[in-house]
Amino acid sequence: MKRYHRILLLLAAVLVACPAMYGQFAATGTTTLSVTVGAEAALQVTTGTTTLAAAGTIFNPYTGTTNIVYKIRTTKSTGTGTITLKVTSDFSPAGGPSVATPPTAGDALTYQCTVAAPGTGCSGSITSSTTAATSVATFGAGASSANAGNAASTAWTLTNDPVYQTGAYSGVVTYTISAT
């Protein structure tokens, strides 16, 4: 008897379920579309090559500016963001300026920052490094840039040391942006 009861119950369940499944078809149907938006950051260096040039009085430092465009979104309430830079290839060839091993103490490649809101640019003149990333900008919680991106720049100053041999020297600076 129990076996027949089970079969009857199964048949009843199928009969109940079938109309319900078919009932999913209707003249209209709704779906909930969801998206989870997280913290993101990206940047573009718009100055492909920054040329440092001395102007005016002799042995004035070499100067130049690198422009970047950044996009950022930090987490509401708790997020932060940074833009940093690091000299990933020192000046070459040898005989000229050097970030890692300047020929004369005090020689340096320094920079100052200009950063559009919501970023806060670095303060004062910062000495660049080949071993550590140094700050260009910081962002607080809930920060967001324009969809097209916001502008920032670093204005470079390189010591003009008479000991540098004449010639053209180049190095590579890498900018990094992050957001939480």
């Binding site: 008897m1 027949y4 999913q24 078809f25 209707a26 003249a27 209209t28 149907g29 709704t30 779906t31 909930t32 579309l33 969801s34 998206v35 989870t36 938006v37 997280g38 913290a39 993101e40 950051a41 990206a42 996009k71 950022i72 979104r73 930090t74 987490t75 509401k76 997020g79 809930g142 967001s144 840039s145 324009a146 969809n147």
Partner: protein, 181 residues
Amino acid sequence: MIAISTRAWLFTIVSCCAPFCLSAATGTATQTLSAQINAIGKLSVPSTVSVVNSGTTFVAYTGNLSVSYRIRSTATTGSGTLSVKATNDFTPAGGPSIAGGMLTYTCSAATLGTACSGSRTLSTTSQTSVLTVGAGVCTGGGGSCSTNDPNTVQTSFTLADNPAYGTGTYSAVLTFTISAL
């Protein structure tokens, strides 16, 4: 086991055969059966769909949704449409906005009818097309009808990734509507 007595079996057999055994004459009768077959359309969509980005920063969020449908349109003069409208924009506030034109979609791989072409911008105020069918089409059964049952059409959604969106999870409600003439 269900036990049924011999007396009960005899009663059942006699009851069933009695009309045939007792009838002495035969006759025929006809009855006209008619059915009004109307144009109709029904559809089914998953209850949820997510759009995600690929991991590359500030690349659009994307997601796919398959719409299942059954449709029958009137021969010669009929037609049918399947459309979509955002009946609730993204909530909570501070995120993407369908009313702001940030959600678009494309249609493809319709197994019956013609999927919409190009990229369409979803609207909160008006229906936008997903699919159209012509006269005399029908789902399932083969022959002059589609062999697929149900029919399906793929929709692919693209949501712009704007830095201005606040972080968090947002959801909107899309309503698909099918009609047939």
